[in-house]
């Protein structure tokens, strides 16, 4: 009888320890979500440009992390999570959009659509936002991502899978392109 009681006690302690461990892991994961969900949402939004899609991407990214247990082995938490949600968002993009569009082609399209003429009477801020949206993806993505708080050009480069120097170059090109178009629009408005 004593042996049976000892075994029952041992099993009870084991179950309690497992429960405690599971509860601790759950709390740790909840803290991870609290710390990074918004940042991940912004990363996904910069790619998908839709709040619902971005939130779905964040949820899917966390589910993948929880299933695989990869969140326990992260070295650089922010960079790892940003890369994860970036890949998930890329998968959720409609086919044909995930690749960067040709810059020259988009410039021609922008001139043909003449956004300056359509939004001449709108606020300058709205005009600039539309111009950012019309930038080629290869210029728009690094520009918006580098504007997200605490996102360095190195992290953006790692996330997009391109060299850090390329990120900086593209950000500069994007700003130059916007300055040129914005100046032209102002001239039209005058």
């Amino acid at each position: 009888m004593d042996v049976a009681a000892d075994w029952a006690d041992y099993a009870r302690k084991g179950r309690a320890a497992l429960k405690d461990e599971a509860r601790a892991a759950e709390e740790e994961f909840a803290a991870l979500v609290e710390r990074n969900a918004r940042r991940m949402f912004r990363v996904a939004y910069s790619l998908l440009r839709n709040s619902h899609d971005a939130e779905d991407a964040v949820q899917e990214a966390f589910l993948k992390l929880h299933r695989g247990g990869g969140w326990r082995r992260m070295e650089d938490e922010k960079a790892f999570l940003a890369r994860t949600v970036w890949r998930v968002a890329l998968d959720r993009l409609p086919r044909g959009v995930e690749g960067d569009r040709d810059v020259a082609e988009l410039e021609i399209a922008a001139k043909a659509q003449s956004p300056e003429e359509r939004v001449a009477d709108r606020d300058e801020r709205e005009l600039l936002r539309q111009m950012i949206d019309r930038l080629p993806e290869e210029l728009r993505r690094p520009l918006v991502l580098s504007a997200i708080e605490e996102m360095t050009s190195g992290e953006v480069a790692a996330m997009m899978g391109i060299p850090e120097g390329t990120v900086r170059t593209r950000v500069m090109r994007a700003k130059a392109e916007l300055r040129k178009r914005f100046g032209a629009a102002r001239e039209v408005r005058r």
Binding site: R42, E55, F62, L63, R67, R125, I148
Partner: protein
């Protein structure tokens, strides 16, 4: 006119600082927990799979055992012998041979041909001949029961000629003879 760089930073800050709907973190956690619960539930359901398989096996074994017992005590089935089909060519061949060779119903389909009346008559003649020679055989038709075989064995033995049998028959005849009872005479008192 505002400075372009200042305006761009402002717009980018707004663009990059977009806020999710309220309670996104809770929704993420709820979904993760729901998936975790569902996964555990399925894991527990898999525990019942071996028990289900074992139950199915038991039922299959029981059913098989029952049917095998029924087959064991089933009465012997009489197998009908299909009449042999003999073609014209085979009939001619059989005429030239001393022992008629019958082609059974198991012959391959490509050797069968449509029979003419003459072929049918020849086949019937061969069948009659085969019947005269003793077909069908007794080992296939009719089936002899155990009782019948015992009766035949008793019949074939020369028991009736033995003395013991004669004595038995005599005794039986005496027993079957009607009794002669004398009339009872009652003396007057």
């Amino acid at each position: 006119m505002r400075d372009f760089d200042e305006l761009l930073d402002e717009v980018l800050k707004k663009e990059a600082g977009v806020e999710p709907r309220v309670g996104m973190e809770q929704r993420v956690l709820v979904r993760v927990r729901a998936e975790e619960t569902g996964r555990i539930g399925w894991g527990r359901r898999w525990l019942f799979a071996p028990a289900l398989v074992a139950g199915c096996l038991l039922v299959a074994v029981a059913v098989n055992h029952r049917f095998s017992r029924r087959d064991r005590f089933e009465a012997p089935v009489l197998r009908a012998v299909a009449p042999p089909v003999v073609t014209m060519q085979e009939s001619v061949q059989s005429d030239s041979q001393e022992v008629p060779e019958l082609k059974g119903a198991q012959s391959p389909p490509h050797t069968r041909r449509k029979q003419t009346p003459l072929q049918t008559a020849s086949a019937n003649a061969n069948l009659e001949q085969a019947r005269e020679e003793g077909l069908p055989k007794m080992d296939t038709f009719p089936a002899v029961t155990q009782k019948g075989s015992l009766l035949a064995g008793w019949k074939s033995d020369d028991v009736q000629s033995s003395e013991a049998t004669q004595a038995l028959l005599q005794l039986k005849a005496e027993q079957e003879r009607p009794l002669q009872v004398n009339e009872i005479e009652i003396q007057p008192l």
